[in-house]
Amino acid sequence: MARVSVQQADFDLSAEVDALRAGDGGVGAVVAFVGTVRDRGDGKAISAMELEHYPGMTEAAIEAMIDEAGRRFELRAVRVVHRVGRLQALDQIVLVAVSSAHRGQAFQACEFLMDYLKTQAPFWKKEHTSEGAHWVDARVADDEALARWGLRSDNAG
């Protein structure tokens, strides 16, 4: 199974996690993160979200993050799915799923990958609200989240 998919289509959480741990009796813990489109942002109703990426670079960047996670944590397998194109409120955006023998490693690796992805993977979000469309601003808090892992990011700042 590919480790990384960037796709317009929705994903099925059960199917992805089943494939992640298929036949691997060494797995004791799976941690899955699903990011979803909120229906409000800055007090305005969000009617749709557009996601753009950099084909080729995006996939390569995420592959490199997974390799780094594998060096830092004891992992069995990793799967990342990120949607692009036009999404609606409540749609799924991203899945990061990690399997490990032990839960502590799985939790850490999954959060590490999300912090990394948020600040280093070339995706851009455009929110459509009742007051028009605008590109979402990067958050300093996301750079700070990555800094906890000893990695510097100046994405937002």
Partner: protein
Amino acid sequence: MKVQVRYFASLREGLGAAEAVDMPPGSTVGQLRDALLARSERHAELLARGRAVRCALAQTLCDEGQALAEGAEVAFFPPVTGG
């Protein structure tokens, strides 16, 4: 030497998805940005030094000191906001 420039998100909306640029051998990504700034008022506004613009060379995040080679792919884009 020819380099291929790509834009994403708000930069793509303002400048188009891609353009080709001829640069002197040995130029850096920062010198490419300078050359682009001179292309139009639109370029000058969207690539202005005061703005948060990130760049990638050969599909890897880079800084502006990186040297370009013939046929290089350079991308300029705003801070990323995925996930």
